[in-house]
Symmetry: C3
């Protein structure tokens, strides 16, 4: 099993946990939480694959993704308080997850033959749209509109990956650099409460 | 015409009516009500077929589904007060509709070659996602998060069908038993106001 | 370059501008505005093509649509106040945009071999669903439910086009007449604040 397959599964698990915990304060019960966890984990990648006509969808084809989601939901159900206390650890995992999903999304899009501009958008979509769909379903203002740097960090990482890829930088090195950029932008912007300027 | 084709059409008609009536109290006019009725009727099955790459979508391929929707909308427009008084009859039809959509969704998914775990999810999606999309578009908290047992009943029926199918129970008998389970869970949970426990 | 290709690009640009400006009053920053502009511009056509299994999606296949969107977003970012002052000019362009998207959507659907009833729905979807998705994501009540005549005008134009097409009216003449009908219904209904009757 290659390393990024394992990371992909781990990212899916983390997304399922954070999705399920995201609605704790709302009036939802177990299946509602499971549903939002599920959507958060598979939404972004599914949207990307539907837009690119790439079938079968990963989680439908490879049962291990479903198992990763179930495991994540189980952890969220059994240990919600414990996991909530791990907020910082979790934030790090979540950020690692979006960084990884972004770059894997870019790579998959390129492998399907689309132009780099499209691949950058698809990379960002892979990482953020699961959360956007979840927030839309639960009537939250999507995180994308609240914590702007979230999506911008993904876009910046995706573009860096594409530039380095154009200059034929080694793939593994490129992944590490691009993921590091996303992590750095995200961590710095959260630490210093940075945000993008508003319109007009 | 096989019996479940007729039931499928009837379920579509009932979903169109309940979708159109669902927004009566809101500030919507005729086309708005028609639109939500339409989405409620075709949303779940369309999402399932898009996720499974099964084309053409049923309502695009078979014009009778569109006619069933138009008939449902027409009834909702002409007889809104009469239909609203039939609340109990309606609830029964609606529940029959989701039960049937669940099992037909499971069967279609299996026929497309997916694993039983995926077929169970797709069966539930077929039944509930039309209502979820409708509620999301009209800025309601989706019914899925308010009346939990709704989706759980579908999932339980889907799993029962898959288990009995594994043990090669006759298909018609299996359908009747699984649909009966969904009806029973739903009716009992509504009568006794049961709900699933919450998270954490 | 045929004329309707140019109009299609221009409509995309206008939709991107109006989508980005639509959320100015909300607490969104630059990428949020860009995201909603993007969704508004590509949402309707993408949904139509996904429902009809017509791939690749136009904006993924033809980079000029992405450039039109970027140009629209750039204008919205650089000249938001100026563009807002042009409200009337803008309204006209927006209405031209939805009229054109409707008829092009009908034509594309027919060319994919669907029945006229489906083509009429797909034409309306092409024009209005981008705005519906945008409003849903930003937690607005979709414009479809607030300003009813919006979608009705598209539907009326789509049906007129199909009727004239059935009687083999010349395509260019048909386009002009059908687009004119949509423009007229929309302008008259806005001027006289007309709306469809409500349900029940």
């Amino acid at each position: 099993m290659p390393l990024d397959y394992i990371f992909d599964l781990a990212g899916t698990l983390v997304f399922a946990i954070s999705g399920a915990l995201a609605i704790r304060e709302k009036e939802h019960d177990l299946l509602g939480a499971g549903f939002t966890g599920f959507i958060t984990a598979i939404g972004g990648g599914s949207l990307r694959d539907i837009l690119l006509d790439s079938y079968p969808l990963v989680w439908i084809d490879d049962i291990y993704f479903l198992y990763a989601i179930f495991l994540g939901l189980l952890l969220a159900f059994l240990l919600p308080k414990y996991l909530s206390k791990l907020r910082k650890t979790f934030f790090l995992f979540d950020t690692l997850g979006i960084a990884l999903f972004t770059i894997l999304g870019v790579e998959k899009s390129l492998s399907l033959g689309v132009r780099p501009e499209i691949a950058a958008i698809m990379g960002m979509f892979s990482a953020v749209m699961g959360g956007v769909i979840r927030d839309t379903l639960t009537n939250e203002t999507p995180v994308l509109f609240r914590k702007e740097i979230y999506a911008s960090a993904c876009l910046a990482g995706a573009i860096l990956y594409l530039v380095l890829n154009y200059f034929q930088v080694d793939r593994n090195l490129n992944m590490i650099i691009s993921i590091a950029l996303i992590l750095m932008i995200r961590l710095v912007s959260v630490k210093y409460k940075l945000s993008l300027p508003r319109l007009g």
